[in-house]
């Protein structure tokens, strides 16, 4: 079985740090003007319910949260806790309604940073692989963003992690169209950085496709994705 965190360029220490964030209490969000500035599209890549909470905080400032949680709930056996995201979305309905967003509000695309990660502990003998990947077709194209007046995109996440592999294709296309890409720490503990595509972007593309084809759990008999797997203990 391939472990995504070990297979990809994401560093193991960073992955562990990310997973520990799930258990940690929510942090204080940094909604600095650099994030909420006009003509900016946000990609919020935080652990599930924190991503929702951050999106709701943005909604109060006139930014439209766009949930992109493309995973099925798996109950106790699920590798990814989708239920807590569902709960957070439902709990946020009133706050979202109160936000009174305008039709031309800038978007904040909400992702679950743990969508590809494997928990450090598998609680059951058999578990359901409900991990997922983000694809460029989940987002508007660069052309659509520019037509809507977007000139800048900001990835909001934590712990100064690198850009996740599955966002490379999306960001590279946006960058090629002249949209500046920045990375901000959601807690404001690290300085913002500017992202540019690596020179070997084709290698990352290849890697992402290989991940999509191979690294999500394959069920031995029934093919890829959504497989039931045997736990190690």
């Amino acid at each position: 079985m391939v472990e995504l965190g070990q297979a990809g360029p994401v560093r193991n220490d960073a992955r562990r740090e990310l997973q520990s964030a799930e258990a940690a209490p929510s942090f204080d969000f940094d909604l600095a003007p650099a994030i909420t500035t006009p003509r900016t599209a946000l990609v919020v890549d935080l652990p599930g319910k924190d991503s929702v909470a951050f999106g709701l905080a943005l909604a109060a400032r006139g930014i439209r949260p766009v949930p992109l949680f493309n995973a099925l709930p798996g109950g106790q056996a699920g590798l990814v806790d989708v239920e807590s995201i569902q709960d957070a979305l439902i709990a946020g309905v009133d706050a979202l309604n109160a936000a009174a967003l305008t039709p031309d509000a800038a978007p904040a695309f909400l992702l679950d940073a743990l969508r590809r990660a494997r928990p450090t502990r598998i609680p059951l003998h058999r578990f359901f692989d409900n991990r997922s990947l983000s694809f460029s077709t989940d987002f508007p194209s660069a052309g659509a963003l520019k037509k809507a007046g977007i000139e800048r995109a900001v990835l909001v996440h934590r712990f100064h992690l690198p850009v996740p592999n599955d966002l490379f294709e999306t960001f590279a296309a946006w960058h090629a169209a002249g949209i500046a890409i920045e990375i901000h720490d959601a807690a404001g503990e690290h300085p913002p950085t500017v992202w540019t595509p690596p020179s070997l972007i084709w290698l990352y593309r290849f890697w992402h496709r290989a991940l999509a084809a191979l690294a999500l759990e394959r069920d031995d008999d029934f093919g890829p994705f959504g497989g039931w797997r045997q736990g190690s203990g």
Binding site: L72, F128, D129, G143, D221, F222, G223, F225, G226
Partner: protein, 416 residues
């Protein structure tokens, strides 16, 4: 609101007319309700909505004509499948995977597994020569939410028009009539495929609304014991099993998973029956000339089909190649959208693997003029237990309708 966008050059020819687009705010509400209440979980792909903001209208008389044709086709397909089960040599024409072929060959000795609520969806196209049917989605037809939930929401905005039917509700009612209310009904799909999960989730909601007990499962959660299907860990057998999982996929798994019970010798009622895989084969029309079952409506409406080796080289451009078990147009090849080099390569593949392909005579679809421009169409008509239960359209800017098509409501003009 029921304005019609009708270009003069097509007005006298096509029985289909595109309506005007809903205002943006109203259509946004339709999309939102489709997603939240009718399990339409993929309403957007990149920059494109996968739902058309306008309906397609058809007159009641034209719809009746389609209804008669579809029900006749369904009866012919059903009879043909039953004959094929008893005539093993004819199975060779269908290009079945060997594991499936092996199981179907036992049909004359082993009884067919019981089944309930048979669903077929015929893909109609209006051409310059009238209606044609490109294929029947016989094994695992989807699109229930688009044909019922989304279409009903659209119909509410167009007074004087009604939906063509409610296939999900009809399927649920037929299931309710066929199965005991108390037992669990498993709805099987590949849970990693969101587009499949939304279909079973929608049907499950329709069953639940009628007092039945649906369970959404993957193939690992079913076990078979003496022909009866159980949920893993359950002591009571299932009352029924809805299979939204292509039989040729299941046939690629070990026999120990119990998949042959979907076809033969099983005791748990299944929907659709395993023999649906026979007519799902795009090579199904090749068997008609050897059947005793008369297939007049099928012969009239389906384009001519030949084995690739029966098509002369100089005629290649008059044909399209279809993969024997292809879905959503993923293996429909034509010179019209392939380069000369790719087209030659496709024919080489088809000739080297003749059972994996069929040649179907090309036909020209009359385009629909819509607010999104001229679109190719495919009108899916559902037949459930022999009776038409609804329909909807898929529209494409390309030369044919594939997985990138958008869905449109089919609305029938009320007769005054």
């Amino acid at each position: 609101m029921a304005m019609v966008v009708t270009p003069p050059e097509f007005a006298s020819r096509s029985p289909l007319r595109a309506g005007a687009s809903l205002p943006a705010a109203e259509f946004a509400a339709v999309r939102r309700r489709s997603a939240l209440h009718h399990c339409k979980w993929d309403p957007q792909l990149g920059d494109s909505s996968t739902l058309a903001p306008f309906p397609i209208f058809i007159s009641a008389a034209d719809w009746r004509q389609l209804t008669r044709s579809a029900e006749t086709l369904a009866a012919e397909v059903d009879a043909a499948e039953r004959e094929l089960l008893q005539r093993v040599p004819l199975l060779n024409q269908l290009g079945l995977p060997s594991a499936l072929r092996h199981q179907f060959a036992k049909a004359p000795e082993i009884g067919e597994s019981p089944s309930f609520a048979r669903v077929l969806r015929f893909d109609f196209h209006f051409t310059h020569g009238g209606w044609m049917v490109s294929e029947v989605n016989s094994d695992v037809p989807g699109g229930f939410s688009e044909a019922e939930g989304f279409s009903s929401l659209m119909a509410a905005h167009f007074p004087g028009y009604r939906v063509a039917g409610k296939p999900a509700s009809v399927w649920a009612v037929r299931t309710r009539l066929a199965l005991p209310v108390s037992g669990n009904i498993a709805l099987l799909s590949a849970p990693g495929y969101m587009e499949d999960s939304q279909v079973v989730a929608y049907l499950a909601a329709c069953l639940r609304a009628r007092g039945l007990n649906p369970k959404l499962v993957g193939p690992r959660e079913i076990r078979w014991e003496a022909g009866q299907a159980f949920l893993v860990g359950a002591a009571e057998p299932l009352a029924g099993l809805f299979r939204f999982y292509q039989l040729e996929w299941l046939a690629a798994t070990p026999l120990q998973t119990g998949w042959p019970n979907f076809i033969l010798g099983g005791a748990t009622p299944v929907s659709n029956p395993g023999r649906a895989a026979l007519s799902e084969s795009k090579r199904f029309p090749l068997s008609w000339r050897d059947l005793q079952t008369p297939m007049p409506e099928s012969t009239r409406l389906f384009p001519e089909a030949r084995a690739p080796r029966e098509v002369a080289y100089r005629e290649h451009e008059d044909w399209v190649l279809k993969g024997t078990y292809s879905n959503c147009g993923d293996a429909v090849l034509s010179r019209r959208w392939l380069s000369q080099r790719s087209w030659r390569a496709a024919w080489a593949r088809a000739l080297l693997s003749p059972h994996g392909w069929v040649a179907q005579r090309r036909f020209e679809v009359v385009p629909l003029h819509t607010s999104l421009g001229e679109l190719t169409h495919c009108l899916g008509v559902y037949v459930i237990d022999g009776q038409v239960a609804g329909g909807y359209l898929r529209l494409s800017k390309g030369k044919f309708v594939d997985s990138s098509a958008i869905d449109a409501a089919l609305l029938i003009a009320e007769e005054t």
